[in-house]
Symmetry: C3
Subunit: 202 residues, 3 copies
């Protein structure tokens, strides 16, 4: 992996670890609960992808990921001790950048492993959203992924753009895919877009 990719990856991990720590805060959990929720959010998606691809799990030979997760969790805890206020807006932006990047990363890894484009889209989306899904299930929260505005759908869209443009030019594919996810996600947050498939019922 190139250095710029690696740094983006670690930044995504940090953002997700912060999101996990915030949920542990809201759920009144203590030390280890924070560690688990931060870790599961940050590396759950990529771990599932690597298990399914039968690739070496990405953090197995690199403890850096846990150092980043620990630092992000600790920073969040310290922040919460001094400020009651959480800049949710900025967190949503960081999270959108995170899922946009993880989608591209996961889709590329799957394509490189030789799977078909459709399966690569599934695995790319899984990389981006499965960590958050596991976190919410563990914390007994309603999985945001299953409810929130276009959340995972924006990843699917990004992954589709990526596989379509991949053979043309990888850098262009990456930028276009991330922009697709970001624009859709920000639009969904701003204008409350959603993908209602069922009619109202009760």
């Amino acid at each position: 992996m190139e250095l710029s990719f690696y740094i983006a990856d670690l930044m995504g991990v940090a953002v997700f670890a912060i999101a996990g720590t915030l949920l542990a805060f809201r759920k009144q959990m203590d030390g280890f609960g924070v560690v688990v929720l931060a870790s599961v959010t940050a590396i759950g998606g990529g771990t599932t992808r690597d298990l399914i691809l039968d690739a070496p799990v990405f953090w197995l030979d690199d403890p850096t990921y846990f150092i980043v997760i620990g630092a992000a969790a600790l920073g969040t805890i310290i922040w919460l001790r001094f400020k009651a206020y959480i800049p949710l807006n900025r967190l949503l932006i960081a999270d959108a950048l995170g899922i946009a990047f993880f989608t591209v990363l996961g889709t590329e890894k799957a394509l490189q492993a030789g799977v078909s484009p459709m399966v690569a889209i599934v695995l790319g989306t899984m990389t981006a959203v499965f960590g958050g899904l596991l976190r919410d299930v563990m914390a007994r929260d309603i999985p945001m992924v299953l409810k929130s505005e276009l959340y995972a759908t924006t990843c699917i869209a990004g992954a589709i753009v990526f596989v379509v443009l991949y053979d043309l030019n990888q850098s262009i594919a990456m930028v276009a895919a991330m922009l697709t996810t970001l624009v859709l996600r920000f639009g969904a947050i701003r204008y409350h877009w959603s993908l209602t498939v069922f009619k109202e019922h009760r």
Copy 2:
């Protein structure tokens, strides 16, 4: 895999995808929630089995599974838009056929991988019921598998019949195993059989 097996497999996947979509409907989920619950129900059990056997995950090289899941989910959504009514009875029958077949499929794959009969029974049952278990956990429902009449127990019975008759004749083993599961499951539904192991308490 032979063609008839493959078609039965895809039909089982479709039935499970419908069950997942119906739960997403009941839980008022939207687009992606449907996709996740339908997929997890349909391929969660087989995926877990393949991971544990360290076999290539069965859908990794075959996007057909996702096409079938997508079609089944879409068909269910369209059906629900026009009819409020869900033919639960017919769904239960289809589901019983699905678990009967998946049990045999999973047990056979495990035996072929060279594990002992007892472990094959565990993995066969896991193939049939783990998808539904994951679905219910994700949707924060009481796992039907853990509560419902003899549900998984019928799979264990079918798997036992399969491993006992396997060395004799594979076709007979398959038919007898599926019949075992089906008869027990229909009996359990019809006469409310259950396997109470604890005395009443409160």
Copy 3:
């Protein structure tokens, strides 16, 4: 694996299976619910560790584990039919011995697989606590692991002691690590130690 290790392993599995059965009892589950909760508790942590290490899943070639789980669940069911009373105190002691041993077992297996000490600590802790976490998530209980006094933190401490002393002498490392976990865990139960990281809030 040496015989004494193997016996300790099976005893740990039995203790965890009993804990799973007790939760199934409390949740009023029936036959299969007991089997699933007992199994998930007993082998969930080690299975996850082996999947991530890409090692053969430890129970795949050894049905003894399921015989032990079955016997432990059956014994618990019979006990509960004759006595309403559960010796919670003795169970807590057995559980503490179980997590202390599983932490060492998992950390050692990870070190032998060649991962770095930090990752070995993660996998050792995962071996000890992930089964209970999965059990609680499946039974829709508040994961004890995420809430209870120092529970998993005592495993992390034990795993750290183990990796630090490992190069010196493996037997000393094992005894010291298990003692660390046990002393911390008993102290936490006795004096209600906890690792509060968040200030009170509501």
